[in-house]
Amino acid sequence: MISYDECVSEIQTLLAQSHAGGSIVPPESDLIDELGLASLDVMELIEALEDRFDVAFPINELGDVRTIADLAKRIQTLT
């Protein structure tokens, strides 16, 4: 299993490239309300994480993911 910190760091790096204008945002950032991701953007972020960690993340669980920390914890359990 990968560490929570490694997972958060990967999400932060991906978001810095796509939505945060290069800056690293804190783990408690809300993906939609604070970072402005659309639901499609969240799905694309998850696809990138699935490939990075070779896991399968069901999109039924999208509703449970609000923050970077939520996403990191869930991805971590899948590895």
């Binding site: 499609l40 799905m43 696809e47 070779d54 399968a56 993340f57 069901p58 999109i59």
Partner: protein, 405 residues
């Protein structure tokens, strides 16, 4: 947050679309009169955004069949298929579909949307897995969600990505339904169906093909993309619609490999909605006969597709895919797409305006759909309409930006 705040959010969204300067939610077609012409805002236009691929909405035999049925059987069945809503025509249509498609059985639904929601939500359930193409139609997403199965997406039209994701599922593949479409309705691109079949088979999963847009227009006899590729026996399940090449409304669910008929008593979207009106069933049956003998119509349709694709390419439009009955022009922004849509309408050509979030990958599109019924003159008028757009947007981009930006 109040329940009614959703209404405010919806109103805000409509206002944003309104700022594009056009009625982006959908123009009202006042009169049609033929498969290819109508009147919008009092102006005669060529209809090039109606999915009426074979032009059968005004086929004399289809109209006569519908007229006779409405006189004989009335305007509606006033009941669901399992109650009083199965007439001899409904059963005959299902038999004829089965014979045409070579399937073990076929179930007819009231719309194509309902066919997908009903079939998918019943085939898969809790504990199962649905793996769907990222660009799937809303009805596929809805059916998947309703099923209670775990849902995964794979990258659009990417068999290697599907392969990778099925590998991650391991032995759960035996409980996995993979869903792809044949021809995608927004960009007009065609699935690499033979490669998908190979991947699905190798992993021991099941494949459902939504053939809404290639049914009637691909394959020697119009049975769609799988017929054209010679792989119909490889497909586990197929769904389709009557509202494109068949020119009416309705949908179907069928299979060559499995008998789907027993699912009638399980599919809630079949059991608890009113059945199709007899006139719709009658025109669909007449249209199915025309499709089966429709080689000339299909040839004409594909000639029209080639001509418009060539014309738009030479005008400098960036197009979504190789020639197909859906020709999508990729526009730089929603504002440019809206300007272009209005220029086309002013030039007497109606196409579909597609802006985010309605289009895949946040694209803004002008979606033109062609018909076998478009005459050579109409095809040239469609291209001339796009020439007016090119002149407005490509030669004078600043003027367009000022008008709507």
């Amino acid at each position: 947050m109040s329940l009614l705040q959703k209404l405010d959010a919806a109103r805000d969204f409509q206002d944003q679309l309104g700022q594009l300067g056009v009625n982006a939610i959908g123009a009202t077609i006042d009169v049609t009169g033929s498969a290819t012409e109508g009147k919008i805002e009092g102006k005669r236009v060529i209809l090039a955004g109606t999915n009426n691929y074979l032009g059968l909405t005004f086929d004399p035999a289809c109209i006569e069949a519908a007229a006779q049925a409405v006189r004989t059987h009335g305007t509606g069945t006033t009941g669901s298929r399992l109650a009083n809503g199965t007439y001899a025509g409904h059963a005959a249509l299902e038999r004829e579909l089965s014979v045409f498609l070579g399937t073990r059985s076929a179930i007819a639904f009231t719309t194509g949307y309902v066919a997908n929601v009903g079939a998918i939500s019943t085939l898969a359930g809790p504990g199962d897995v649905i793996m769907l193409d990222a660009d799937s139609h809303a009805s596929i997403y809805e059916g998947a969600k309703l099923s209670g199965a775990e849902i995964y997406r794979f990258r659009h039209n990417d068999p290697a990505d599907l392969d990778k994701r099925l590998r991650r599922l391991g032995d759960r593949c035996a409980r996995t339904l993979v869903i792809v479409e044949s021809l995608y309705s927004m960009l007009g691109d065609v699935a690499p169906l033979d490669q998908f079949c190979e991947v699905v088979k190798r992993h021991g999963a099941f494949l459902l093909l939504d053939d809404a847009h290639s049914f009637g227009i691909m394959g020697e006899t119009g049975r769609g993309l799988a017929e054209a590729l010679g792989i119909e026996d490889e497909i586990d399940f197929v769904t389709g619609t009557f509202s494109k090449s068949l020119g009416s409304v309705g949908g179907f669910f069928a299979s060559r490999k499995h008998d789907v008929a027993p699912l009638r008593s399980q599919i809630r979207a079949y059991m608890f909605t009113a059945s199709s009106t007899p006139s719709v069933i009658a025109s669909t049956r007449a249209a199915l006969k025309r499709v089966a003998q429709g080689q000339a119509l299909r040839s004409q349709l594909w000639r029209n597709c080639q001509r418009v694709h060539e014309g738009l390419t030479s005008l400098g439009f960036k197009l979504g895919a190789a020639p197909s009955p859906v020709i999508a022009s990729l526009m730089d922004s929603p504002e440019h797409a809206a300007t272009a849509w209005q220029v086309l309408l002013d030039a007497g050509v109606y196409v579909n305006l597609v802006v985010p979030p309605g289009a895949p990958k946040n694209l803004s599109l002008l979606r033109c759909s062609l018909s076998a019924a478009h005459t050579d003159e109409q095809v040239e008028q469609i291209i001339e309409g796009y020439a007016a757009v090119a002149q407005r947007l490509f030669d004078q981009p600043r003027a367009a930006a000022t008008a709507y930006g």
